[in-house]
Symmetry: C2
Subunit: 188 residues, 2 copies
């Protein structure tokens, strides 16, 4: 089975990212089309980009880069679980992306974004040109969680509604289709 | 005189940002309309955003945030000296912006971008919605340095051409006009 990596893109104390990432991982496991891995950028704990060579060369000089490259290379598809800071993506997510190059190439990405009235969607739109630069494919079917604070229980769990469950299923189906389609480019 | 802060937005080993920032600082000093300060994000050395409260509250819990807030609050206008990573802005720049809120508000920003054929301009465009979210004003007159590797001398200095000098002058003139215009909002 292809490997789906679910990446939690916020790292600040008090974030809701892990609650949402856990729900996405459960949905993906129930979907059945993927081997599922949950990756928390707070645990990956990369420094600010510190490689002297361009990532396109794959000439990594730090152990943290070699480890991150191996983790991303092992995945066939991604879901980014992402909030919106100042109408765009978070620095930890951009930093984790910029560290690598070929490891991302020709792989699809689904988005589970969250926020206030805009549901984090401006961050998703801001990220699409970045993904295009890496020859990644953004999947249109997304989960967009508005007013996320009202959807977290007192014990810190996400309380999904039926629309979110349906949107996750559509996103995972489309990720599976793209994963198959892009495999030809990755071996070609 | 208003204070112009020139912020070097890349931090990686081997970057050309300091060479370009030094040239911008010289141009700004020669312009005469500003007190000029050069700020290197590699020296500021912020961690990934780690404040538990939203920056809008100004309720900072870390010394590094308090120091950065004081530095930005003291400035009246900015020039971002910025490369483009994967067609967008760098993580260190987004991180430094996201740490604060009111300290940026109602201040103008000029751009000196650099890169290959696109001269870093896609990163500038990606940043404009972020600046809008903070009620900052991006100045249209910019310095866009294409094929920057060919403009750095063997001893690591920027070798500007006449077009760059002219563009810098126009940018600084417009920054001065916006700084005056926005002062009314900041005291109002």
């Amino acid at each position: 089975m292809p490997k789906l990596q679910i990446i939690i893109a916020s790292t600040r104390p008090g974030r809701v990212g892990p609650a949402i990432g856990t729900w996405v991982a459960e949905q993906a496991a129930a979907h059945g089309g993927f081997e599922v891995e949950l990756v928390d950028l707070a645990e990956v704990n990369l420094p600010m980009f510190d490689e002297p060579s361009h990532p396109r060369l794959g000439n990594y000089s730090h152990d943290h880069t070699v480890r991150w490259a191996a983790a991303v290379a092992a995945a066939d598809a991604f879901v980014f679980v992402m909030p919106e800071y100042n109408h765009s993506f978070t620095a930890p997510l951009k930093n984790a992306i910029d560290f690598l190059s070929a490891e991302w190439r020709h792989k699809p990405v689904g988005f589970v974004s969250y926020g206030g009235m805009a549901a984090g969607t401006r961050a998703v739109q801001a990220l699409k040109p970045v993904l295009a630069a890496l020859d990644m494919v953004p999947v249109t079917q997304a989960v967009s969680i508005a007013m996320v604070g009202q959807k977290i229980s007192s014990d810190g769990q996400l309380e999904p509604d039926a629309a979110m469950d349906t949107a996750a299923k559509l996103m995972l189906d489309e990720l599976a289709r793209w994963t198959t389609a892009l495999a030809a480019l990755r071996t070609g």
